[in-house]
Symmetry: C2
Subunit: 331 residues, 2 copies
């Protein structure tokens, strides 16, 4: 099995990115497709991405070892189902079973942030404790310790965005007031700066520089909320590295420098905070990094709670034994 | 080596508790001594506790496999030094080396809260992710995942007490304002309720019941701060179990029930919080549990960053090979 490629897929609100990785975790093929919303379009897109990876690598679809999918929404790893993934138009989808039927491959799901955390630690070569802070539409964290993704008791770790910190803050969709996510997220940018439109991350910095007061306030909330989240992660987890990823990492060094500046201010007020060296632990995920797809591929190899015989298209004896036969599918 | 007993010791502000555990982690002997403050008294007490365990188990001191010490203050596991342990009168002590010289045993140190976390998970038979919240003089956390203590990058995990949450809150000794510890800790009780004296945990509930307004406010702060800390731990770590320990666990079911009540209020405001089932994850450490001493013994077995030859009294070839010789020391 170790010579078979594993597939990882990041199904996001606008695009689906798929990779094939080899036994060493190196990316050998990549496919990028738009994600049309809804159950059937999402499934068709995933199947098409796998077909593209097969064509690129000159193999049959059934020659891949496994498919790991990182996806937003509530992910039940044991059942392979995803719920409430509204930004891809999915209320409920038994994704592992449905995609398994279509491809004949074993499919495992993970939360997209967890997948990105695992992929970022792998691609950036980070050892020890790695806390990955995803500043996207929402705010969430993934934790990797010594290369192992930490999923907690129910697979709902890293909900730092819903830590309600400001009783005078804004109403969050979760029902609480003043969650960190109401300050530091794409949704928060839209709330504080409605003029920024649907993708405020792209237009924010020019507006800040042009003196737009609402844009400046939105940026300030983002910086304060992000720095607060990072301070919290370091206090609690003492990570070797905090990686910043997610859609808003496109704000790049401007965001990074502003966060470090805020941490330096807090350090000036508290020797205890200064000694933690928080700013020195932060790294920015490279723009365009396929972290979530790669992490999904890595996580897809250790599938949860099912005997192999229960998986669609995955006969117990077939995984290693039918490679030669399956290679007949290759173009 | 597996038939040799391991020693664990919890050096606290008022007492030093030591245990000897067998290979299965069962406690076979216990010693309890007052802790006189200062470097030499602390060392003499530790040595005396070990001698008592030797006498109880009918062995020579050098027949024990290892000594693990849980101690407050800044603990450097690699060097075996402790700094700024003010409540036992220690500014700096090379405890591992000094106690190793006195006993001929390999000595490893851990933060007292980390030791208690490991011991609580072991004694309570808890699997998976266990977050241990220590509500004592300060507020701190220890994390055990699948039986392994998580020490982070620099051994300073779990500093949840110094997460500054309330910009209008009280000044913390760390230099920040409104740290969780300024609401939920023994020090906070003394601040909010000076009339409670040096050990307010013992007198608080009768004063609350008698209608003392300051005592009631102090209790309310304690409940809100503790519940906030627990909510945060569950959001971030998704633990199977949150164990409450520390000196203030002596408030028992009154504290436990009040925390659960506060969590229920928050759940009523937010379906997201309600679904986390936070209250159902909490357990109270038994009163008088030797968690820190037992955890120190367990942690003492995996010593950090030193070759065995560098350890005082621990020749490389001597660990298993000199047992027969050492038994000659037994009375």
């Amino acid at each position: 099995m170790s010579d078979r490629l594993r597939i990882g897929m990041d199904i996001g609100g606008t695009k689906t990115e798929a990779v094939a990785i080899d036994a060493a975790g190196g990316v050998v093929a990549t496919a990028l497709l738009p994600t049309p919303p809804g159950v059937e379009p999402v499934l068709a897109t995933a199947e098409q991405a796998i077909a593209e990876l097969a064509a690129q690598t000159g193999r049959g679809v059934r020659e891949f070892a496994s498919v790991g999918v990182g996806i937003p929404g509530q992910v039940d790893r044991a059942s392979g189902e995803v719920r409430l993934a509204y930004n891809i138009g999915i209320e409920h989808l038994a994704l592992a079973a449905r995609l398994g039927e279509r491809t004949g491959l074993p499919v495992a799901l993970d939360n997209d942030v967890n997948a990105a955390a695992l992929g970022a630690a792998h691609l950036m070569g980070l050892d020890g404790t790695v806390s990955y802070l995803n500043i996207g539409t929402g705010l969430a964290e993934g934790l990797v310790i010594d290369g192992a993704l930490q999923r907690g008791a129910h697979g709902i770790t890293g909900e730092i965005g819903h830590f309600a910190i400001d009783p005078l803050g804004r109403q969050c969709l979760c029902g609480q007031l003043g969650c960190l996510e109401t300050a530091a997220s794409g949704a928060a940018l839209r709330n504080f700066w409605p003029a920024g439109g649907e993708h405020p991350g792209r237009t924010l910095l020019p507006a800040v520089d042009a003196g737009d007061a609402e844009a400046q306030a939105a940026f300030e909330h983002l910086v304060r909320g992000s720095a607060t989240a990072i301070r919290l992660l370091v206090l609690l987890l003492d990570p070797h590295t905090v990686v910043i990823g997610g859609g808003l990492r496109l704000l790049g060094d401007r965001l990074f420098d502003a966060i470090r500046g805020r941490l330096a201010e807090w350090g000036a007020q508290s020797p205890f905070i200064a000694e933690l060296g928080i700013a020195e632990r932060i790294r920015l995920l490279s723009e365009g990094s396929p972290a979530a797809a790669v992490g999904a591929a890595l996580a897809g190899a250790d599938r949860p709670g099912e005997a192999a015989a229960d998986r669609p298209g995955e006969p117990v004896a077939g995984r290693a034994g039918t490679d030669a036969h399956r290679r007949g599918d290759a173009p």
